[in-house]
Symmetry: C2
């Protein structure tokens, strides 16, 4: 997605060979117009998949997921990383290991909002080692729902997340794929435009 | 806002005299079409205020804030409740006490994204005791920016948050104002329609 790649090239900050900071439009400050474009692009890529629900994870997945939900005309559920006063019924949970924080945490979704008839699109802001996406995948499967695909805003293609998900049979659609952050520079994977 | 009040009446669950659960369209599952309507209503109420930034707090504030940002054509910043790998520069912080969880926590925004020239609309999902809104207010003032108003999706008018904010000179615009949750029933404040 060219508009996104341009934004990353202009406003992304390479903190190290592993870490790209996009706090000015995705992870802290959010650009709503770009989110709308991202939502439309996810909707375009999954328009034939008869999606009934989008599942994401707080907090940075919410904006792109809600815009995609608006375009596809389906509700969005965000998995919680923290305990919630009102999130108590029939919880589906998964453990997610964070390589950057070196901690394991629980994520949870209420089983009330997912059924075996649902066709789910999982959306997240980043794909690196794939731990968050695999946690969401596990939760959706616990509900007996079908996972139609995984939509990622920014994929760090030099990390193993994508391959792990593809190995599990998932379709992964990433709007920007980063080949390398070496030398303080963002290099994108060269792709034939679809 | 009639569509919101209808949704609360139909899908909200009164857990106690104090707690309304709206996990099916706002706090866990999100209804993107309703969020768009909410965003438009906030934009309508603040269209003459020359807003330059919206400030909210993760996670449930993000969806309504991003939709309002889209309508007003301004960026959204969400305050973080947790530490972030990339949120480290020039932090503006405030303490927020949670009456329900009986814990005090820190919220933070990077000062990079707020300046003294900004005219800020604060948006949040719920207003009860006003602690989150007051924390955001403190952060925006630390940046030297002007607070043009506070937009709330659901106000529990029987709790003191609104009065505290009004006492501080804030304009508070709540899209649904709940007078009482007694007897397991949602009763709205009767308002002359604007």
């Amino acid at each position: 997605m060219e508009a996104l790649k341009r934004k990353i090239a202009e406003d992304g900050i390479v903190l190290s060979d592993q870490v790209l900071k996009v706090d000015s439009f995705l992870n802290h400050q959010i650009d709503p117009v770009l989110m709308q474009q991202i939502g439309r692009e996810f909707a375009r890529r999954f328009e034939k998949d008869e999606i009934t629900k989008i599942v994401t994870i707080e907090s940075s997945g919410i904006a792109p997921a809600v815009m995609a939900g608006l375009e596809l005309g389906v509700p969005v559920i965000f998995a919680r990383k923290r305990k919630s006063l009102t999130l108590t019924d029939d919880l589906l949970t998964a453990s997610v290991y964070s390589f950057t924080k070196k901690t394991e945490s629980q994520i949870a979704i209420s089983g009330n909002h997912l059924s075996k008839d649902d066709r789910v699109l999982i959306i997240d802001d980043f794909l690196a080692n794939g731990q968050a996406a695999e946690g969401l995948l596990s939760i959706v499967k616990q509900a007996g729902a079908a996972v139609c695909g995984i939509g990622i805003v920014i994929e760090k293609s030099f990390q193993p997340g994508r391959d792990e998900l593809v190995k599990k049979g998932c379709r992964v659609e990433s709007l920007a794929r980063i080949q390398s952050l070496e030398d303080g520079k963002v290099t994108f994977v060269q792709e034939v435009r679809s």
